[in-house]
């Protein structure tokens, strides 16, 4: 189906339009310095020949790639939201995004390697798994922005959600509804778990509920949530859970135990994932502000590329509560 001929080059277009390649180049990249007539003619020929500029040659010559590398987990629903936001944020800036996925068999190291070969000018790593040290080493080569995980290193920019605040919001909401006996189901060693745990404890204390503090070991999966429920000694009136997925396990375990939500027990998740939005789950949850996070990540990457001075390496974005059907007044 394909024509055997090679694809047209700028030289072809130029020749066909009867101008030099330099002039054709000016037209193609909409640079000033070509007459309207020429401009029209070149564009016409380009269209007719089906010419598409060769991004690689272009970038090779201009010395810069104008590429922002994004490392993301392709199985990770939340990363999908972030990638969407990143595209939006990069939209009008004259930078392109290039994606490199982390899969079960393709580690973060390989994903990053591919991006380096593409000569990206900065890296935005979603939920980085590499060691702080190795990312910091990378940052000697190009700016690295970590999103969603709080790495502490002077060479790394970090954009993350304020997980401590997230649990403050959750507990405040429950207390406002009259709850006092509130249990937190923990996320173990997952990124963010420590902060959420701390946020829970702080908020409980702030409300004078020191004696009610109960942290039950859990994890990130539905099973973890379900298992955690069975560890709870006397049923509280409300539960804050590490994330939405674990919450679904919690909801299911409660239901099996004959406990109604939110009549008997209120439940709050974390992430505002698609799961939480399912109408029949209708999970009250804490939403991370992906729009702000992605915009800031891109802005920060560009600032580093341009060599601007930036005041702080870490940007902490406040999340917000999304009240839905799994929380109710006592």
């Amino acid at each position: 189906m394909r024509t055997g001929e090679r694809r047209p080059t700028l030289a072809d277009v130029a020749a066909q339009a009867g101008v030099s390649t330099a002039l054709a180049s000016i037209v193609m990249r909409e640079a000033p310095g070509a007459s309207a007539a020429t401009r029209r003619r070149v564009l016409e020929v380009a269209e007719q020949l089906g010419y598409h500029p060769d991004a690689r040659a272009r970038l090779l010559r201009s010395g810069r790639s104008r590429l922002l590398g994004v490392v993301f987990g392709v199985q990770h629903a939340f990363h999908g939201d972030l990638v969407t936001g990143l595209y939006d944020a990069a939209e009008d800036l004259k930078y392109e995004l290039t994606l490199s996925a982390v899969t079960e068999r393709r580690g973060e190291r390989r994903a990053i390697q591919a991006l380096l070969q593409d000569r990206c000018e900065a890296l935005i790593v979603l939920g980085p798994q590499s060691s702080t040290a190795s990312l910091a080493a990378l940052s000697a080569r190009l700016p690295v922005v970590a999103v969603g995980r709080g790495l502490r290193h002077r060479a790394l920019d970090v954009v993350r959600s304020d997980d401590v605040l997230g649990l403050h919001l959750a507990v405040d909401h429950l207390v406002a509804l009259g709850h006092r006996r509130i249990v937190h189901i923990d996320g173990g060693r997952m990124p963010g778990a420590a902060e959420r745990r701390r946020g829970y404890r702080e908020a409980m204390r702030r409300h004078g509920l020191d004696d009610e503090i109960r942290v039950v070991p859990g994890g990130p999966t539905g099973e973890d949530g379900a298992a955690a429920v069975s560890l709870i000694r006397d049923l509280p009136t409300a539960i804050t859970v590490f994330n939405d997925l674990a919450s679904t396990g919690v909801l299911d375990a409660l239901r099996r135990a004959g406990v109604s939500v939110p009549e008997d027990v209120s439940v709050i998740g974390y992430d505002d994932s698609r799961l939480a939005r399912l109408t029949y789950l209708d999970l009250t949850t804490i939403a991370q502000d992906t729009a702000s996070m992605t915009t800031l990540a891109v802005t920060r990457a560009l600032a580093r590329i341009e060599g601007e001075k930036v005041p702080q390496r870490e940007l902490v974005i406040p999340p917000h509560l999304v009240p839905r059907g799994t929380t109710a007044a006592l």
Copy 2:
């Protein structure tokens, strides 16, 4: 943190190692024609200098990009599985994958455009949304493989799952368990819905259950599934549902109605999504063979690039049943 110096080029490595760039090039791309000693020395210097080959220059010179463009929906969980499979399939071939995401605000057209500028040699489009005509037009420029949606056009390669067979398997499974009164909840106008509907009807007839055929209008979402349940007149003993997500709605609606699964009613979903695998859902479902689909998609793309003759434009992969906890003998 970054050193101000430009990144090392092959010439730097060559000079430092005391060889020509040509020789250094041979070493870097593991081509034959360099002594072990040279090889070692060059590699050593490269490592020490932190040299990374410039993919763009490399490809520019060699005239080919050895790039396979992949268009995928970043929000689409199933696409995540496919992308993972594609990376695996491309692993040992000397082609690289380059991803371009479709988001709510970044249409398939833009995603494809970016890939064209990257000089991909073939396009693999997951769940294409563009018109058959526009994809066919594209295929005049480079091979296009559509995955997961059955486009019928002589210029397009298609790799998809056999949805008709999928529902045969579902119905057969239920019949083997003693079910006869089996309802199908439909997917409306979604890709694959028509085939699944047809597969249901065919299988029912094959089992002599013509009189039991009941197709209830539904859709792809959880809500659709829940709504469909309320449309069912007299409760059957089993339900086949368009997909897993809708199945969760079905399960929830049944539960609310006091119907136990699988004791009273068996339910089968479709996709074997992560949802289905959640232990507390434990949904019996039909799994698409993503490994085969992705392997074949890559193989086919390469065959087209190499200009091989291929017997058929459409590859239909059989799915398989994943028996779990939502189906039981009558």
